[in-house]
Subunit: 219 residues, 2 copies
């Protein structure tokens, strides 16, 4: 029947032929694009098949139902985010770097990654509305990323002039994440944050972090 199986409502690729692999990717690419642009609920499986230049019958050969297709798209997005986050918070990567460098790099690369795939987050947020598994996995991803970044800052407590370094580190990462989210959401929160050029925005964000933490070279 189908070459996909739902393991605990999740998705697993089990295609045999090389053609199968290409077709599944074509469906996933088409689905991700349309889901991100028009929303999952407003995109029909027929739309996805048309966009992928394949038939609706072929789509249902590869995916049990629309839910499975959505889960596959979500899984691909989250897996990519998770691996990026793992690399970003690896202490070894930041050996020798100071807080300003870490913060600047986090802000700049978030904007770059988020700007490349603006629909990804929209998909995750929409699916999370009704799917507990996705909501929880997304929450864990962000928690993992923020915890890792906070730890990088706490490891550099000697640079922090704020009287409570652990609390200040945590707050500053939350604050920065909120600003990056606002800026990346664009249509959702399009204020001055969205209008200012990326570089100027990062500069001001880094400066704000520095003054709140009372970094050594700031005093």
């Amino acid at each position: 029947m189908s070459t996909t199986t739902a393991t605990g409502d999740r998705w697993e690729r089990t295609g045999a032929q090389a053609r199968s692999h290409r077709t599944q990717d074509a469906f996933l690419d088409a689905a991700e694009e349309l889901f991100g642009r028009d929303g999952v609920a407003h995109t029909s499986v027929t739309d996805v098949a048309d966009r992928a230049d394949r038939s609706i019958g072929s789509l249902y050969h590869h995916f049990t139902n629309k839910e499975t297709l959505v889960a596959a798209v979500v899984d691909r997005i989250l897996a990519s985010l998770e691996s990026t986050a793992d690399r970003a918070i690896d202490p070894a990567r930041w050996a020798g770097a100071d807080i300003t460098q870490i913060v600047r790099s986090y802000a700049a690369s978030s904007l770059e990654l988020g700007g490349q795939r603006p629909g990804s987050k929209r998909i995750i947020v929409e699916v999370s509305l009704t799917d507990d598994v996705t909501r929880e996995r997304y929450r864990r991803f962000r928690e993992h990323l923020e915890d890792g970044l906070t730890a990088l800052l706490i490891d550099r407590s000697d640079e922090i002039g704020h009287p409570d370094p652990p609390l200040a580190a945590r707050f500053v990462i939350d604050q920065l994440t909120a600003m990056l989210t606002a800026r990346l959401d664009g249509d959702t929160i399009p204020t001055q944050l969205a209008e200012r050029a990326d570089r100027a925005f990062v500069d001001e964000a880094v400066s704000s972090v520095g003054s709140y933490l009372r970094l050594a070279d700031d005093a």
Copy 2:
């Protein structure tokens, strides 16, 4: 036929009987609740009629189609937000208040209002995805609110130690708005911002604003 007319795709109440008024409110209340909880796309007009304890025929007597019902709900939400914002940024209201008081009040009342109706924003964001008029109106609302708040701060430039008060005021309002948004989105961005108690969060946000602006009583 119908007692609603679509004026430029917008909605106008034209009910005659007292009963009509009550029924329209019942439909709007039911729709707002379900739209906010399950999403507009996942809520059928039948769901709305059932929730309002009225028939589908009655719903279509009052609203031309689902789109008109959605527009009516959106209009009610935005009108409420707009009037709240107008009151919040009235300079007369803040005569004698300093920056810290303004910022604290903005943060506290945003959290209070947003917490009362968590679904409102979700509805606006979902509708904005496909409706240009709503997206633009929501953007204008936020721009108006942020411009007003920024002006209140700039009027108090003598309190600001930052070398560029207009830029600093603008940045700080953006930053604060981003944090409030993150906190209110709860499920969307549930990190430490969401876990900390409202009062502690407001305290830390106000303190952060103070240190970035280099407020007089902070130096």
